[in-house]
Every structure is written in structure tokens, then in C-alpha cells.
């Protein structure tokens, strides 16, 4: 398959007045088009840092990140970053939150607006498009945040623990929703999480990261039926096998 993103020997150190923190060390992996990659790792190991590197928000201390054949040096139109919280702007209604990336990139064309409105409609938020974020539930807000990320038509989605602010029940259903949306829009996605079952139920490939500085300990292809929804995958016999294996690797 076609590799659209490659990280080669990527290393990152944060400099502060008192110390140097090595957050990422010698990272090598690549992502194919349409692939869903999940990264799991202990808290503080450098997961967010890896996404920020791919998003072009910070530069690696050494090594190279290549996306669609060119080196990543600044935020790209082709990546969409979804953070831990929804970060909807409370003074904008749902529709205007979704349009935000278009405004930033100055391409609020008829076509793009129609595409964004289409997404809002398709994912069941049309009635709420004039509502303000405060009037929506946590799960709905998370869906809006995803639609906002999609409105700029990115090729690669970077998801930083997108469900961590939700309670367990909502989390399962929003997880299903988000998966459906990503698959039906045929996007490539990199998801960061510390929840092993979330990683197994969503991903094609799970990357296991070491403690800080993050490096890849293992890369596992999930052999669970891809036509199942994330919720159904949790009931698949292979699920517990993977869970046990990954859990051991994380707690080594």
C-alpha cells in the first residue's frame, strides 16, 4: 500500500531554563493511505508530542518527517488535528465553529460551505447548527469538533485522546460515531490513547510506545473483522487476546 506519512529517526527534546527533557527518541514508522493507526503508551511518554510533530507545530531535534513526499516544516492543509477537548469557541454557534478552519485558510467558498453543511446534516446536527456549544451534550460537542476538523478536507486526521473528556457510556457510542464518520469519509487517522481497548477496537495497526522518551516497542496488525463496528469488535474472540498481549507490553 501507498505510504503517505513516514517518520525516520525522529528525536525531540524540550529545552527549558533548568533542564532538557527528551520526549521522543529514534521514532520510525509509516502510515498507509486509509489506514487507522492507534498509538498507546503510558501517561507522559510523549504521545501528544508525536502528534504535534506530525502536525508541524514543533520541529524535531533530529530526524525527518515526510508527508505526501515532502518534508513537514509547518502546519499543513492536509492534516486535521483534533485535541483532547472539543475546544469549540463558546461565542460561535455550531455552524460557525465548523466553518472556523475555512475562515483561517481563507477558502470559505460556496463549495466548501456546502460540504461543511453537508457534514453537519449527515451526522445529525442540522437542527443544532444555530445552537451555541453550551447547549449541546459532551458527545455532540465531540462530534462537532470532528466535523470541524473534517471541514478543511484533511487527508490525515490526528486525534489526541478525543474521547477522554467523555463518560464511559457516551465514549463507547461517540467512538462508534467517530469511527463511522472517519471510514465513510475515507480518511487516514492516527489516534493517540492510553485506553488499550479503544485502540484495539478502532485501529488497523496499534503502535505500542515505551515510557518517556517515546520510542516504538511493538507494532501490531489487528486481525479482527474490519466490517465490525468498534463496539462489536469488543465482543470478538481476538479482542481479549490482543488486550492481554498489549497490556503486558505496556506494563513491562
Amino acid at each position: 500500500m501507498n505510504k503517505i506519512l513516514t517518520l525516520e529517526n525522529v528525536t525531540l527534546s524540550y529545552q527549558t531554563k533548568t533542564s532538557e527533557t527528551k520526549a521522543v527518541s529514534n521514532l520510525n514508522f509509516s502510515v498507509s493511505e486509509g489506514e487507522f493507526v492507534a498509538m498507546i503508551g503510558p501517561s507522559g511518554c510523549g504521545k501528544t508530542s508525536i502528534l504535534s510533530l506530525i502536525a508541524g507545530l514543533i520541529k524535531p531535534s533530529s530526524g525527518k518527517i515526510t508527508m505526501f513526499g515532502s518534508e513537514v516544516i509547518e502546519p499543513s492543509k492536509r492534516t486535521g488535528y483534533m485535541l483532547q477537548k472539543d475546544h469549540l469557541f463558546p461565542w460561535r454557534n455550531i455552524e460557525n465553529n465548523v466553518f472556523l478552519p475555512l475562515e483561517i485558510k481563507k477558502n470559505k467558498t460556496e463549495e466548501n460551505l456546502a460540504y461543511s453543511k453537508g457534514l453537519i446534516e449527515k451526522y445529525g446536527l442540522r437542527e443544532f447548527s444555530k445552537y451555541y456549544p453550551k447547549q449541546l451534550s459532551g458527545g455532540m460537542r465531540q462530534r462537532v469538533a470532528l466535523i470541524r476538523t473534517l471541514s478543511q478536507k484533511p487527508d490525515i486526521l490526528l486525534l489526541d485522546e478525543p474521547f477522554s473528556a467523555l463518560d464511559y457510556q457516551t465514549r463507547l457510542s461517540v467512538c462508534d460515531d467517530v469511527y463511522k464518520i472517519i471510514k465513510s469519509e475515507k480518511k487516514t487517522a492516527i489516534l493517540v490513547t492510553h485506553d488499550i481497548s479503544e485502540a484495539i477496537s478502532l485501529a488497523d495497526t496499534v503502535l505500542v510506545l515505551s515510557k518517556r522518551p517515546a520510542t516504538i516497542l511493538d507494532s501490531c496488525e489487528m486481525d479482527i473483522d474490519k466490517s465490525l463496528t468498534p463496539l462489536k469488535r469488543r465482543e470478538h474472540p481476538a479482542f481479549s487476546k490482543w488486550f492481554e498481549k498489549l497490556w503486558k507490553e505496556l506494563n513491562l
Binding site: 492543509k77 469557541f89 472556523l100 478552519p101
Partner: protein, 265 residues
């Protein structure tokens, strides 16, 4: 359904009743205060020469009104206050924007702002009179200098409080610094801006009245000082009452601006 409706109706009735009680007591306190004051003055418990009385204040106001004098004083003070308010608010916000923009400048100017903030501005009075002359310019300058420092400090901290992660989100969309400011920092500091404007209303009144105490031949502050000097306490009280009314009106205007600007709350 019907039961629900009546329950809602009850709730609304209760709200209405609560509001009526609040308004009733607000007015009652004022009326009782004025009545007691008048009574004490009439019964000569207090010396109305020193403490005036509501009726004497009314008479004084009426005289000022019929001689037409009242309005020239009011307009002078309002003009000075509004000029001070607008100049200081706009200037203060602009300076805060510049200091938000450049962390270097912010660090360089921090000690100056701190010192200027703690300096009692009235200490600059004599200098201001010498530089600007004993006129309206000096008074407006006084109002500006009192208001502008607070504006800078409040607005800057409002700008700086902006959620780092939201900034990150915009950066990941490729936003420029001016886009970050206009789309995020400014709107999220809007509540701070409104509360700053509310404070500025008070500040610019302090500035203009203080300025009028120092210099001036006209204005409500002048009337108060003059009244004090010639022992016309009626005049002092009457001017103070007018000041109260004007300050309340200006505060009300800011509140209305607030309600139209911040709909999403």
C-alpha cells in the same frame, strides 16, 4: 401536560414576585432615607445648614435649572468624562494589544506599568497643570492617566489568559498571529473588556472630578469645591446627586452594550 404548565406558571409567578420584592425594597430604602433625612432636618435634629435636606437640594437644583447654569456644568463634566473614558479605553486596549503581541516589549515595560499603577495620579496634578494649563485639557489628561493604566493591566491579563490549547488548535489550522488575535484572543477577552469598561466608567468620573477639584471654572466638580469653600452645602449635595444620576446612566449604557455583545452566555 396541564399540570406541567401550571407548575411552570407557578415558577414564573415566583420569579416575578421575587423581582417585585427586590424592586420594592430598593425604592423603599431610598424613600425612607430621604424621609428620615428631611424629617431630621425639619425637626432640627441635624443642622440643615451643614447637612442640607432633600427639599433644599431640590430647591437648589430647581434654581440651577432655571438660571440655565446647571446644564453648562453638566455638559462640561460629561464631556471631560466621556473624552477621558474613550481616549483611555481605546488607548489602553491598543497598548495591551501591542504588549500581548510582543513578549519582549511586555517584559521591558512591566516594571513601568507596575510603578505607574501604584502611583497616586493626583501627585502629578501640579505638573499636569503646568504642562496643559488650567483648563479642560488638563482635566481630560487627568481622567485619561487614571483610567489608562488599569485598562492596560486588565486587558493584558485578559489577553494572556487565552486557552493555550485553543491557540494550538488555530496554529494547527495554519492561523497567523493576527488571525489568532482576531478570531480567538479578542473574542475570548470580551467579558474582560466589558468589566474593564465598567470599571473605567467609575475611573473616568474620578479623573474628571479630581481634575476639576484642581483646576477649572466649570463643571460639577467645580460646583462641589466652590460650594464647600463658600459653605453652601445645598450646592454640594445637589451636585453630588446629579453626579450619582449621571454615573448610573453611564453604567446602564455599558450594561446594554454588554447584553448586545455577549449573547452566547
Amino acid at each position: 401536560m396541564k399540570r406541567q404548565l401550571t407548575e411552570h406558571q407557578k415558577y414564573l409567578d415566583k420569579l416575578k414576585k421575587d423581582k417585585a420584592i427586590v424592586i420594592f425594597f430598593r425604592i423603599a430604602i431610598l424613600v425612607i432615607f430621604l424621609a428620615v433625612w428631611e424629617l431630621l432636618a425639619d425637626l432640627k435634629v441635624i443642622d440643615s445648614f451643614l447637612f442640607s435636606s432633600p427639599s433644599r437640594v431640590l430647591v437648589t437644583l430647581f434654581n440651577l435649572h432655571s438660571s440655565g447654569e446647571l446644564y453648562s456644568h453638566i455638559f462640561t463634566t460629561i464631556f471631560e468624562t466621556l473624552a477621558g473614558f474613550f481616549i483611555a479605553s481605546i488607548l489602553g486596549v491598543l497598548i495591551a494589544v501591542v504588549l500581548w503581541w510582543s513578549e519582549k516589549l511586555r517584559k521591558i515595560f512591566e516594571p513601568y506599568i507596575v510603578v505607574l499603577n501604584s502611583l497616586p495620579k493626583i501627585a502629578l496634578g501640579p505638573m499636569i497643570i503646568i504642562w496643559f494649563g488650567a483648563g479642560m485639557k488638563a482635566i481630560i489628561f487627568m481622567a485619561v492617566i487614571i483610567t489608562v493604566i488599569v485598562t492596560i493591566i486588565n486587558m493584558l491579563s485578559g489577553f494572556i489568559e487565552t486557552d493555550e490549547n485553543k491557540i494550538l488548535l488555530l496554529k494547527s489550522m495554519g492561523a497567523t498571529k493576527s488571525q489568532i488575535f482576531l478570531k480567538l484572543v479578542l473574542p475570548s477577552a470580551l467579558p474582560t473588556m466589558i468589566s474593564t469598561l465598567k470599571i473605567n466608567v467609575g475611573m473616568s468620573w474620578i479623573g474628571s472630578i479630581m481634575g476639576e477639584y484642581l483646576v477649572s471654572k466649570r463643571g460639577l466638580g467645580y460646583l462641589i469645591v466652590y460650594g464647600g469653600q463658600v459653605f453652601k452645602l445645598d450646592l454640594v449635595m445637589a451636585s453630588t446627586v446629579v453626579l450619582c444620576v449621571l454615573a448610573a446612566i453611564m453604567y446602564l449604557v455599558v450594561s446594554i452594550v454588554e447584553r448586545t455583545l455577549i449573547k452566547w452566555k
